[in-house]
Symmetry: C2
Subunit: 398 residues, 2 copies
Amino acid sequence: MHRIELKSLLADRAVGTPSGRVVRALSERGALSATQIAHITGLAKSTVSMTLSELRKSGIVVEGPSLERGASVGRPATVLTLNPQAGTCVGVLIGLGQARVIVADVSHAIIADTVTELDPDFSPEQAAEETRRMIKQTYAEHSMPLCGLLGVGVAVAGPVNPIDGRMQRASVVPTWAGIDIRTVFGPVLQRPILVDNESNCAALAEMMWGAAIGYEDFVLFKIDMGVGGAIVSGGRVLTGIAGSAGEFGHMTVDPDGPLCRCGNRGCLELYASFKTPLQHASKRFDRPMTMDDVIVLAKEGDVGCRRLIEDTATAAGRGLGMIGTILNPGLIVIGGRMALAGDLLMTPLAASFEKHTLVKRSDVSGPARTELTIGKFTENDSCMGAVGLVLRHHGRLA
Amino acid sequence: MHRIELKSLLADRAVGTPSGRVVRALSERGALSATQIAHITGLAKSTVSMTLSELRKSGIVVEGPSLERGASVGRPATVLTLNPQAGTCVGVLIGLGQARVIVADVSHAIIADTVTELDPDFSPEQAAEETRRMIKQTYAEHSMPLCGLLGVGVAVAGPVNPIDGRMQRASVVPTWAGIDIRTVFGPVLQRPILVDNESNCAALAEMMWGAAIGYEDFVLFKIDMGVGGAIVSGGRVLTGIAGSAGEFGHMTVDPDGPLCRCGNRGCLELYASFKTPLQHASKRFDRPMTMDDVIVLAKEGDVGCRRLIEDTATAAGRGLGMIGTILNPGLIVIGGRMALAGDLLMTPLAASFEKHTLVKRSDVSGPARTELTIGKFTENDSCMGAVGLVLRHHGRLA
DNA sequence: GCTAATAAGTTCACCCTAGAACAAATAAGG
DNA sequence: CCTTATTTGTTCTAGGGTGAACTTATTAGC
């Protein structure tokens, strides 16, 4: 029997076949037992068994590290993953003046994580070229074959249409507006390119490996130097018709408020991000302060810094309250570096959310309540999510 | 061969079988050709052909009225529907001081539409009893067998959890809070009960028969004496963890604004509903005015009435702008009786939406734009949607 | 009015999936 | 230490869905 190629099993035409479905499930989830695969794919366990024995014979599926004993009776499950040598994926984050590249294999093992500084106003072509360089170097350093690279996921700051890869206005670098990421990166990287918004990628990371595992419906709310987020419905990250779904930072809070970089007035981002508080802190301490500085000082008991965090939380909670009213999600994950403040942020945030949202905690019983939790990822969420784009959406790969 | 029962094909256990999938598709869509069924169910057309010939033999599926010639080449499709005599469904709207009952058969033909006034503060038990009476009477008048009734869909004003049927606070009649609709109506009607919010039902109606046919993702925004709405994502009406998703009327517009009946301050409903304008109009004309009166006068050129509509539209547009920013839907359907104002409403509404939303029309090309349109249903939308609940969700029927 | 093009619907043999029965591997309990 | 309960994973056959080829029904064009 001639060798089965992983790529062909990830192609669109194999969507319906058992092999395709099993491989897809493993690619999306990482490590699974045969029973779990049967449950997820909806195939009978007999079919899964036969399919797996073939996939194991051809080396596409391997036995993974046996999971910690789950304290349950019955025969322990053998954990399976895709063969790490069968393929690799790259996640790229194109952010404010920096590019980040994470390399992982199809068994969900992270192989490398690199960050490079870029010119403040770099062009898309520069970004693509730099990405190519970083990928090439990383693969060389780990003596991995570049031909194993299945696809590249790109997370960009600002709205982007994942279908056509086109950037919207209001992106990090205004000159990127209208640029088609796929057209720019595709020819340079010579691989299928999957693009999505930074926050949407972060949500994907939380869903695949973070605080939202097992949730089909949740909201990610990101508080950092800006405010953003993502909406996950039915296990699907909502992109919106133009790719701008989840842009919580640009909800109008005060139509007569100050101008925002997006062109509207009084956006939530102007009140609930940590940009303005940082300016106040820098003035007060007479030196440039970072978000981490303020959080550390607040945890040490500095009342001024505590108040800055509280005020931000209160403003964010108002926006979050509206999101709760509109979407009534089962889970809200707080992301962004602001989440590092922990309870200092979450306590006033939860209070403000409760005040402004429609259904109060006391109105409903436990399972119908909206949970608020801190995300697992705060720093590399978007880039991990970009990896997830490839692992989840390779159906769209050529 | 013994007769196949429609009910058993609609049961959960038949979800996977071809017969079940074909019947389900027909029940959801009404009339379809064999090719369309194959496309929707994902089955091979050969399978559909064989399944249909069996279903036709057993009388569950019948040839429907041949659709108007579609001006396309090729053999014309034979249109199929479920046998109207195989089953009927009832949609009930429990609204402000009135109950409405619509009876339809499984071929999507409407058989009857009845409205009854109720006491302003009727109890759930009264509503259930009245519903039973109306259903019984209607079936008698049309000499239809009550045993053919497959299920009853109930649309209620105010948040309700469709899973457990429990009403939330902030419902029409405050005393209904915490009531389990399914438990109250179930024993009285002796049929499977499906419950959802009024607005969610309206969205279902627009999706199945109205302005949102073919859309998997859209938003319904309802402007009437209150403001409400629904979010449809991936063909699924979002209910939220507690059933309050889509409650656009209670987004906080001004945290220091007047108290709302929901207990919060400055809700959108206080500015964007037609309740306050109606009070102004009544004072101005010194007689009780209805929404229709104001719309008629506005269309005749009365500048005061025009302004009332414009101001409402402007306020609504601000809320809608936020919805556009957060969800970036491909389509927004404007429902509620306010939509009867037509362009008098839509022009300022679209302008206000455009002003407050993130992605402007000029930012993106046609297919990525958010369309704004008036709903097909304005009056009986919710009750029709309640019928749709039964036609779509009978998988959940016992 | 004939042919070509297009699309809908049907037939049938073959492969493949599902279900049941069985085998294997562990925890709990006396 | 053996039995029971529980869960995982494999084997095998029957039945059923699929795809290819074919038939039927219509429009468009010459």
